[in-house]
Every structure is written in C-alpha cells, then in structure tokens.
C-alpha cells in the first residue's frame, strides 16, 4: 500500500504531499488538480514497469511482451510545472509498505522531463539495512551518459558505485538483478516494490465497450475501458459464492428483481454480459449506460487478479443519484476487506454526503492557488473550521455551494 506521496513540480502539482488511506476520494472543481494527481500515480506506474522517462511521459507502442502504454496527458513537454517559477525536474517521494511482509519502504526520484534523464534516486527498505541505494553528490555530472548510485550491501566499508542507464529509473534495472554486483535478496525486494508500483489499474468503463462481445473467453482482469468485461463476468460467475456476492450489488441497483447475472455466448464461444430479470434475459446492448457502468465498476472489485491500486475518475458518471449510497458502500466494503487501495474522483455532493467522518481524513479537496496557480490538495479534516461546521451543515451543501473552496 502507498501510505504517503510527495510530488514536486509535476504539472499543476508544484509541491503536494498527502497521506493516503485504503479508500481515498478526490473532490474539487474542474482543472483543480485531481486528474494531475492521478497522472502522478501513472508516472509511478511507468517507473514500476521500468520504462524510460520518455516512454512514461510520451507513450510506448505495443512490443513483443508489452501492451501499449499511453503517455501522460500533455507528454514530456507539458509535464513540468509551468507557473511563475517554471522547472524542468520532477520529484517524487513515495512511502509504502509491502502488504504481506509488512516491510516499509521509501522511494525517491528526481528526473528531467524534457531530457528524459535521471537526476537523483534513492531506495530505502526497513529490515534491509534501510538504504539499498542512493545518489551521492559528485558521483554524476549532468553530461554523464550513465548514472551512478552507491549500493549499500550491508557489509563494512564505503558503499560501492553501480552504474546504470540514465534514461530510465534505477529501480527497475536494479530489480533485474546482477549477482556479481549486488545481492539477489536486495534485487528481489526492489522487484517487489517495482511490481507494487506497476500494479495499478485505471478503470474508466465505456458503455460501448461493455456492450460488446469480449475477445477473450475468460479473464482475470478487465481492461481500462471495460475491455473483456464479459469475459471477466464469466470468470466471476464460475464460482457460485463469488457470483452471489457480485449479484447482490446488482440487485440493489436495479428497480426490478435481478434473478441472475451471466453471459450469452456468441458463435465461437465469445461472451457478452447479460442480466436476467423475471426470467427475461437482458443482454448488454439493451441495458442502460448506468447499469453497465455500475456492473463494470462492481466487477472490478471482484477480479480474481486484483491490482494493488485502482483509480476511477468521476465515479458517479451515469449512476442515478439515489444509487450513489450503494456505490459508496461498495467502495467502503471492498477497501476494508481487500488489499487494494482505492482512489476515486467525484463531482457529486450526494456521494460526498454518504462518507463517514472517519473517511473525511482521506477525502481530499483540490483547488488552484489564487496567486500562484499551483494545486493545493488537503484532506477535509485539515481545512480550518471544517470539523466544526460539518457537524451543523450538510457536507453536500458545503461542497456544492463552494464553501470548501473558499475555506481552503
């Protein structure tokens, strides 16, 4: 789980640091920085994959063993903060822990977005001598083609220098291992951290995609826009207990009793999503956009191959206001029980109203600084007077009326 993240000079995030929980909700007006924060997570995902900086920012075509990687919106030319104090280097500091072992780690990286070159990188892991590698002043000049870090093997003496490619993060290169130069144990822990960063899933299901037959016959994870949704449903419904749990959410959504969920099968076995209501089959093409979107979002939380982190932008899209309670309960329930961290953005005051006081600590309000134009991101509980006023005034009204924006 990612516990804390600090972002400097990336897009509108000039200097943002927040502590994350299992369920995190981001609110704020358009262009306040919510999506830029999610893009920063995508930067980390690219780092976890071991891509070059230019690939992370500008995209990477499909390779023999890799899928297409869409770059960050705006690419490398628009990646750095463009306010009154423009900069070229982006800095990220992430504190996390490995769920199974409980080991905590800190990862620090600074790189030039325009040049696609590394400037500084540190990996610290508790229980592994703390520092695994770091950059020492004087080891690298801006023109050096390679990048040197100091490796802390745990043995006495000065840490040995290790050279890596400079156009991509050291983390992934170190994780690949080199028994002659650093320990396999340290490479393995770096690989775990890289996998944790890479294992993020953005969910933005489009009804058009959800109505299609899936290409795959079964799937353990859905695509970003809902690719292979029906194949995932086929996998989910193969286990009666999981099917029943998934179906229980759909029953709460629809005004009519949902008797069953499953798939129709095409000519060559390809699946298409369907619901059965009162013994009448309702295949995906006749279901409403909102039903399909909710079904896909719910299915994302029943994927056999759950990611470490799920992000969903404008989660309320297409879902009726009276069903947003259900959506919040779904998120809360899955955040509490699974190992997946959830980050969503919303513009819905109603959704906000269903959050508990405890959840306000990981509900973040985003706004642009009036003078400098950079994004400010703060948990609601740290906004002055919020805790008192929310006792007396509905939070939905405070949000819709603009009180939060004025208070921050």
């Amino acid at each position: 789980m990612i516990e804390r993240i600090s972002i400097k000079r990336f897009k509108s995030l000039f200097n943002v640091e927040i502590a994350l929980g299992r369920l995190n909700v981001f609110i704020g007006t358009n262009a306040s920085g919510k999506s830029n924060f999610l893009d920063a997570l995508r930067l980390l995902q690219g780092i976890g994959h071991g891509f070059t900086f230019h690939e992370i920012l500008d995209g990477k075509p499909k390779g023999a063993a890799t899928e297409v990687w869409e770059g960050i919106r705006g690419g490398s030319t628009k990646a750095t903060f463009a306010g009154p104090t423009p900069a070229d280097d982006i800095e990220l500091i992430v504190d996390g822990n490995l769920d199974r072992s409980g080991e905590s780690w800190r990862y620090f990286i600074t790189f030039s977005a325009s040049e696609g070159r590394l400037r500084d990188e540190v990996l610290q892991v508790s229980g592994h001598g703390n520092v695994i590698f770091l950059t020492e002043p004087g080891d690298n000049t801006p023109s050096d083609p390679a990048f040197t870090v100091r490796y802390y093997s745990g043995k006495p003496g000065r840490p040995s220098p290790l050279s890596f490619e400079r156009n991509r993060p050291v983390l992934g290169q170190f994780a690949r291992g080199d028994a002659a130069r650093w320990s396999a144990d340290h490479a393995a822990i770096a690989a775990k951290i890289a996998r944790q960063l890479a294992d993020m899933q953005r969910i933005d299901p489009t009804p058009a995609e959800l109505r299609k037959y899936s290409v795959a016959h079964e799937s353990r994870r859905m695509g970003e826009r809902g690719e292979n949704f029906a194949a995932l449903i086929k996998t989910i419904t193969a286990d009666p207990k999981t099917k029943e749990a998934y179906l229980s959410w759909l029953r709460e959504l629809r005004p009519h009793e949902v008797d069953d969920v499953g798939v129709l099968t095409g000519a060559v076995g390809e699946p298409m999503f369907k619901l059965t209501e009162g013994k009448i089959e309702q295949p995906a093409p006749v279901l409403s956009d909102g039903t399909l979107r909710f079904a896909a979002i719910a299915a994302a939380f029943f994927q056999p191959d759950m990611p470490q982190l799920i992000t969903i932008e404008e989660i309320e899209n297409g879902i009726h206001a009276s069903r947003l309670r259900l959506l919040v309960e779904l998120l809360r329930s899955r955040a509490a029980q699974g190992n997946t961290q959830i980050l969503v953005t919303t513009h819905s005051p109603i959704l906000l109203a269903w959050l508990t006081a405890e959840e306000h600590a990981t509900t973040f309000f985003c706004k642009r600084h009036e003078e400098h134009g950079d994004s400010i991101i703060k948990p609601l509980t740290e906004i002055e007077h919020f805790k008192d006023i929310v006792q007396r005034q509905p939070i939905a009204d405070l949000f819709a009326e603009g009180w939060l924006e004025a208070a921050l």
């Binding site: 207990k241 229980s248 959410w249 709460e252 939380f301 309670r325 309960e329 509490a336 029980q337 269903w354």
Partner: protein, 186 residues
C-alpha cells in the same frame, strides 16, 4: 397510482438491506405487489433520536402525501408508549404512521429464517441486550459474505423471506404490524 409507502429505518445503510425487502414482501402478501416502497436518503439518519426528529420536523414536507409511513426501529430504543405518542403526534398532520420496534433489534428479523444454524433457543437469544454484536455479527462473519451488499444481509433476508410465514411466527411484532397494515389497506 401505486400504493406509496415511506420506510423509515434508524440507519439507512445497513438496516435498509433487511427492511426494504421485508416491507415489499409484506405488502405483496397483502395484495399490493406493486407498492412503491421508498426509503428516504436525506437526511441520513444517525440513530433512533435523529429518525424521530426527522419524522416530525423534516419528512412531512416532502413525504406527507404518501399513503403510509412505516418506522421500524430497534426495540431497545423505541418503547410502545413512545412510538404510540409519535404516531399520534404525526397523525395531526394527516400522516398515517405505523411504528413497529424489532425485538430486540432489526437484525433479528434477518436471522429468524436461520435459527437452525444458531446454537441456543431463539427465545433466549432474543433476550440478549447485545443481539447485534453477540449474535448477529458472529453469524454474519461465519455465514455471510463480506464481499456482498450489506456484508451479506441482503442474502440472509432473502433466504429468511423464503418462509415469510415462519418469520412472522417467531417475530410477533411483525404479525401485529401486518394486521395493522391489512386493516389500513382494507
């Protein structure tokens, strides 16, 4: 125009999974299978006292035209005298409110169809003042599915309602409520 019923729980988030299917089934048994059972979501009730206040102060303006209101709290808070007074008070505004306190708590209605899986006599279990914490929650942890809606309450209630008459037989307060609703419908 369908028969409109306002369902008022103490807590919409968890009790709703139990109460909405129960009331829908009761009305279907009484010849109103297409009744519109609506559980208000604004305000979000934070307990018995809040729900009582909302019944008097907030809900009449929005739901005063509904045919019937049902308030179904836990018996540990709502005494017959208190609930009777609430019914009388709201009747003055032309609202038909029936209250029915679950003995001992709403969760007992969901568990009533699963008595064979719970050790001990049902009568003794219902005497437990911490029924929710000491009877229902452990049962849900063992037999429910935390991944499901309401942590499994929806399924438990659906299974209990498969024997609706059996539920009423062990929860006499529901029998009484059904009789009142039947007389009201006429």
């Amino acid at each position: 125009m369908s028969f409109r019923v306002l369902l008022i729980p103490e807590d919409q988030t968890q009790n709703g999974y139990i109460l909405k299917p129960l009331v829908g089934r009761m009305l279907a048994e009484l010849g109103k299978p297409n009744a519109n059972v609506h559980m208000p979501t604004d305000p979000r009730f934070t307990g018995y006292d809040h729900a009582c206040r909302a019944i008097v102060e907030q809900l009449p303006a929005r739901y005063g035209h509904f045919d019937l209101w049902l308030f179904l709290p836990d018996a540990d808070r709502g005494t017959d005298v208190e609930l009777g007074a609430l019914e009388n008070k709201i009747r003055g505004q032309g609202i038909n409110l029936f209250c029915c306190a679950a003995d001992p708590e709403v969760e007992a209605w969901a568990l009533a169809g699963h008595r064979d899986k719970i050790p001990g006599s049902w009568a003794e279990l219902k005497l437990n003042p911490r029924f929710k914490e000491e009877v229902f929650t452990p049962f849900l942890a063992e037999h429910g599915d935390l991944r499901a809606a309401g942590g499994g309450r929806e399924r438990l209630m659906r299974e209990t309602l498969a024997n609706y008459r059996g539920l009423l037989a062990v929860c006499p307060e529901l029998t009484k409520l059904e009789q009142r609703v039947q007389e009201f419908i006429g």
